[in-house]
Symmetry: C2
Subunit: 391 residues, 2 copies
């Protein structure tokens, strides 16, 4: 691995994921910020923090845009430069990337990145409509397809090309629910059996209820600084060694492949090259399982297994806690929950806990190199980061 | 002025502002990108451009979010990191700031920043509702106040404190319509008299129809690079010497002053300090005249005149073409138009034309130092940049 980190994480916070009845997004974010600030007593937030990027996907949920300044104000940081970043479900992955640019620019030594979404007060129909805005309006939404349908098309193509089965896809849910059962901040902290997952109703064939991530309220918050300043704030920084972001066509219909996300491959190549590692060196990963099938596709696009072999790879148990490369130890979007704007930096929160040995019952032993993978929409955005513990 | 620029502008493009019936935002943006690319024949967009930030305020207009990747694809840049930035009407001011971070980071030598909005296909009621999302939902929007009302409160307070008159406020419209009459890309290219402005109907007392900016379709696009690389692409770069962004409370009701925007003052101080200039050294400016009164407030907060004296300052003619510091030579939001996401970088486009001597009939003679000022909402975001021509 490259000897020089890009930036260092000096603290992190996350609200409980689930239902926060009666709270506004700004209030949920303040819980995440409060944890991040209290974990880092040497930080003087109002004095030290020079910029903020907040991932927030949908202004329709609370009829509230201009979220950067709202969040900055409620986090006690009124006055600082604060910008909302939006790249669908990769909104806070993009916030992290923007925060890295800011730290490296030399204009902002300490930067907060994070994300938030308040979703559960809306009906499922409303949420489905708001999420669909991340697909192509004239050529996808307008014709009635929404995200379960788009990912079902990808899953179907993969089943056809490689013989992947519904059971293999459902195993992602079983694994992630197991991991979620060990995470006190996860929305669903209960194990499920393969039989339960397979017996759940179809949402969009072959994807069933247990193949879909959860409509969730939540927020996450990460504090970044230059590697040479990290020791001023903490004895336990986590360093970011690789950062990649890439885009693709908004419409699935424009792509060469339905079974692979080119944006993931591009972002991963950039991140791996920057960190000077190969996929084999990754000890654990948080990947974007908005639908269970998306996790299988991520295994392949990130190089954790060969193309077409992700079905067998989940069966092998290698991505379960105790396996060679545990994936989504947090429970993932499937069990931890998916408050869309908060998801990217919530993945970073899990990586921070794991690489500082604070992940409790779901701690990965000897974890040193981690990876996060956050996608927007059906893959028109992908953001990949590579981390290493300071130990 | 500081000897070393932060970044350099090597090209710029802007669509006509006005009504673009039957076009999507992405198609309007491609007009702006096409101009920027063709102005800079030495640039190979697909090869050279490494990141994109797109200001886009409202996903409701076209039921389309995830705009970064949509715009990147339609500009022929599929694959590059592309992020939407949103800070209300300062969305593309925030894109510029994010682009500067990216160039300075060393991770992206050439970066496109821009913005777009497609608004005119919606009814005035819809646009008013969508824009209102940039104010505080629970304590402003919900009670029925929208932006004309918020700026009217500020104007009223200024009239009460300083004796500013409705005529003085209306003179901003007269000046900006004159400037717009000289800009072939402005939405309204017609002069108006003070009598016409004063006789227009009230929208929110004391603001009348001619005190309000225009619901507009349009896009703008700027290409940035490191100063040391600028000569590779152009003989006529424009350098950015100062960059400031700041936030404030989302709600007007939480602020100490109704007649001054603290975010503008903070952002301006940062930009002036970085550029090592005083307001007296500014030769021309594009300021955020979403309502005519906002331009008067900007004169004071940017230090162009003393606090409370902006009414007399507009009367003096100093901010008209031919005066000491022409303001909004493009026509401003008032006459050029205000496609909200595009406005911040459209101000930069005007600065680029002026400081490279390409502003035609509205060219400011011997213009050397320029300033742009872009605000979001009622001032919860402000972005200020300082420019100098390379000559």
């Amino acid at each position: 691995m490259n000897g020089k980190p890009l930036v260092s994480i000096i603290s992190a916070g996350m609200s409980k994921f689930g239902k926060h009845e009666g709270l506004l997004a700004r209030e949920i974010f303040s819980q995440a910020a409060s944890e991040a600030f209290s974990r880092c007593p040497k930080l003087e937030p109002k004095k030290d923090i020079k910029a903020m990027f907040i991932g927030h996907m949908g202004e329709a949920y609370e009829h509230q845009g201009h979220t950067g300044s709202v969040i900055a104000d409620w986090a006690g940081l009124t006055g600082i430069p604060a910008t909302r970043t939006e790249a669908a479900c990769a909104s806070s992955g993009a916030a992290l990337r923007s925060g890295i640019y800011a730290v490296l620019s030399g204009l902002a030594d300490v930067v907060v990145v994070g994300g938030v979404e308040k979703m559960t007060h809306r009906t499922t129909a409303e949420v489905t409509e708001y999420l669909a805005m991340a697909s192509d309006y004239p050529f996808e939404q307008w014709h009635g397809i929404t995200f379960p349908g788009l990912f079902a098309l990808m899953a179907t193509a993969h089943m056809h090309l490689y013989g992947t089965t519904e059971q293999q896809i459902a195993l992602v849910a079983v694994k992630n629910h197991y991991h979620g059962s060990l995470n006190p901040k996860a929305y669903l902290q209960k194990e499920i059996t393969l039989e339960t997952a397979m017996a759940s109703r179809y949402v969009a064939w072959p994807l069933k209820l247990y193949d879909c991530s959860l409509i969730t309220d939540g927020a996450s918050c990460i504090i970044l600084t230059k590697p040479e300043l990290a020791a001023k704030y903490t004895d336990q920084p986590v360093h970011i060694f690789g950062s990649g972001q890439a885009s693709d066509t908004i419409g699935l219909y424009q792509r060469k492949s339905l079974t692979s996300l080119n944006a993931t491959k591009l972002a991963a190549k950039t991140a791996y090259d920057m960190a000077q590692i190969t996929p084999k060196q990754v000890n654990l990963a948080e990947v974007h399982d908005c639908f269970t099938f998306a996790e299988l596709m991520a295994y392949e696009d990130l190089g954790f297994c060969k193309i077409g072999e992700s079905g067998k790879f989940i069966e092998s148990g290698e991505t379960r806690l105790g396996g060679r490369i545990p994936v989504n130890t947090s429970g993932g979007l499937k069990a931890k929950g998916h408050p869309v704007g908060a998801t990217g930096t919530a993945q970073v929160y899990e990586m921070y806990l794991q690489l500082t040995g604070q992940a409790g019952k779901r701690q990965v032993k000897d974890a040193e190199v981690g990876l996060t993978h956050n996608i927007g929409g059906s893959g028109a955005t992908a953001v990949v980061h590579v981390y290493r513990s300071a130990q």
